[in-house]
């Protein structure tokens, strides 16, 4: 009997071991950041459930994530300068370095071999080997007489081992060519506008667009033709109007494209701005419930989902891109921080920080399909990002 019990125990132990490394793909996985706990929940978007947690990632307030091209590893950029490579299949930290004092986010190269981190303190960009997290290059964001360093925002990957990023205090856009990773070649674009606060690259990786906090308009660089320089688009936007206070900076990562129209958060206005990307001119404005933070298009481009800064951060509004009307106002919970679509967009996951909850909505019926208990959830990042520019 005793021997049998031992055999059964051994078999159970063995199968438990196997279950932990279940043979599976990573295409429908993702992570949810638990910002105060310094932990990630790893989620399965098919089962709509958490499959485990990975702790010990430091200060994850304003954390962001990029993925290895096989979707197995997430690179997590923490506010405290931590860069952590986590294995979604084995549910563990693979490597971790604290690479700066204060970081805002990062990007991964087109070939998946380089990870870059954009830092506030010390202001600049650091380049890492994606396998080992060994630092390959340090690019200080010096400006003016060279004694000052700017905070780096809006780092985006571009074709050919290039990365574009913006210098907040300096009002500059830099493009770093990392074809030789230890010897970056930097192209600097000066006087692009005051206080670029975030940026995005279009889905095709061609246009880098930096939002300006300090003045009207958006700075645009055509990465196919950097020799043409940075030009200002949407020049008249908001001119002559008194902007409203902005209680949370909008994000441009999810700058939504639907056909040739782009939808973006206005700054200091309770509006979503519609831009025709054929002419880069304003094509309309849609009044919404508050200061938009994320304006995100479903992958099919049919609807736009918007969340808001205080005091409207308990709402999410849905805009129909054909009629350009708000069709729904949802209440996913208190302090909605982020939204993420599955690859083809049949569902959207929405985090509500102050209700410790992530809700999964059906994007066609708006039905709540699942709720996950997550401690102070902020960003939600699915592995589909691995396959796209700018994510």
């Amino acid at each position: 009997m005793r021997a049998n019990a031992a055999v059964i125990a051994a078999v159970l132990l063995f199968s438990a071991g196997c279950a932990q490394v279940e043979l599976r793909g990573s295409g429908d996985l993702g992570v949810i950041v638990e910002r105060s706990a310094g932990r990630l929940q790893v989620v399965d978007t098919t089962r709509q459930a958490s499959i485990g947690a990975i702790a010990g990632l430091g200060d994850l307030s304003h954390a962001s994530v990029v993925y290895s091209r096989d979707g197995r590893y997430a690179y997590v950029f923490g506010r405290d300068g931590g860069l952590t490579k986590v294995d979604l299949l084995r549910l563990r930290i693979e490597r971790r370095v604290v690479q700066s004092g204060n970081s805002i986010g990062g990007a991964i190269s087109q070939d998946g071999k380089l990870v870059t981190a954009a830092n506030y303190t010390p202001g600049g960009v650091r380049v890492f080997d994606a396998d080992t997290l060994e630092m390959l290059a340090d690019i200080p964001a010096t400006y003016g007489d060279g004694g000052q360093r700017a905070k780096v925002v809006g780092i985006e990957d571009a074709a050919g081992s290039r990365f574009a990023f913006s210098l907040f205090e300096a009002g500059e856009i830099w493009v770093a060519d990392l074809s030789v990773p230890r010897a970056p070649k930097i192209q600097k674009f000066r006087d692009i506008g005051r206080q670029p606060y975030d940026a995005l690259v279009t889905l095709d990786g061609r246009y880098y667009l930096a939002g300006l906090f300090g003045e009207d308009g958006v700075a645009m660089l055509d990465l196919w033709h950097p020799e043409r320089g940075v030009r200002r688009v949407l020049p008249g936007y908001g001119k002559g109007e008194q902007p409203l206070p902005v209680f949370k900076m909008p994000h441009l990562e999810g700058w939504a494209m639907a056909g040739h129209l782009a939808f973006l958060p206005a700054v200091g206005r309770h509006e979503v701005l519609v831009v025709d990307t054929l002419t880069w001119r304003e094509a309309g404005r849609i009044a919404v419930a508050g200061q938009p933070v994320f304006v995100m298009a479903q992958p099919d481009g049919r609807q736009i989902w918007v969340n808001f800064a205080l005091p409207d951060n308990d709402k999410v509004q849905v805009i129909d891109t054909e009629t350009r009307q708000v069709t729904r106002t949802l209440s996913p919970g208190r302090a909605v921080l982020h939204m993420e679509f599955t690859a083809r967009g049949e569902s959207v996951w929405i985090s509500a920080r102050d209700d410790n909850r992530v809700t999964v909505y059906d994007t066609a019926t708006f039905e709540r399909k699942a709720e996950l208990a997550v401690e102070q959830p902020s960003g939600i990042f699915f592995t589909v990002r691995a396959l796209r520019f700018g994510f």
């Binding site: 304003h62 506010r79 506030y120 902005v246 900076m249």
Partner: protein, 110 residues
């Protein structure tokens, strides 16, 4: 020993100020303010208040900035920077309470 000598005056100060909190800010409101500062101010200044797009708000970083200056900045913002005026959400007493707590090291959210 050294730690104790730092702590006791702090406690004494807290006790001396306690009635003043009761005047301006109810205990339930204090919890809301702690959450607001940690979570919402934290989106620019960092959850640990060590700075982000906005400057650090840790006591050491604030140095000898006067409480009145902090209170004014909280209520009216800093034109030319992304710091917004919070007076639509915060009373004078709220802002005074936050400024005083920042200068002595802000309490934890949990």
């Amino acid at each position: 020993m050294r730690r104790a000598s730092v702590l006791w005056p702090g406690l004494a100060l807290a006790c001396a100020l306690a009635p003043a909190y009761a005047d301006g800010v109810a205990p339930a409101r204090e919890a809301e303010l702690v959450r607001l500062v940690r979570q919402d101010c934290g989106s620019c200044h960092g959850l640990t208040l060590k700075g982000g797009l906005g400057p650090p708000l840790a006591a050491a970083a604030l140095g000898d900035k006067p409480a009145a200056y902090l209170k004014y900045t909280i209520l009216y913002g800093r034109p030319g920077t992304p710091m917004p005026p919070w007076r639509a959400y915060l009373t004078e007493a709220d802002a005074e309470w936050i400024a005083a707590r920042l200068l002595e090291g802000f309490p934890d959210a949990r």
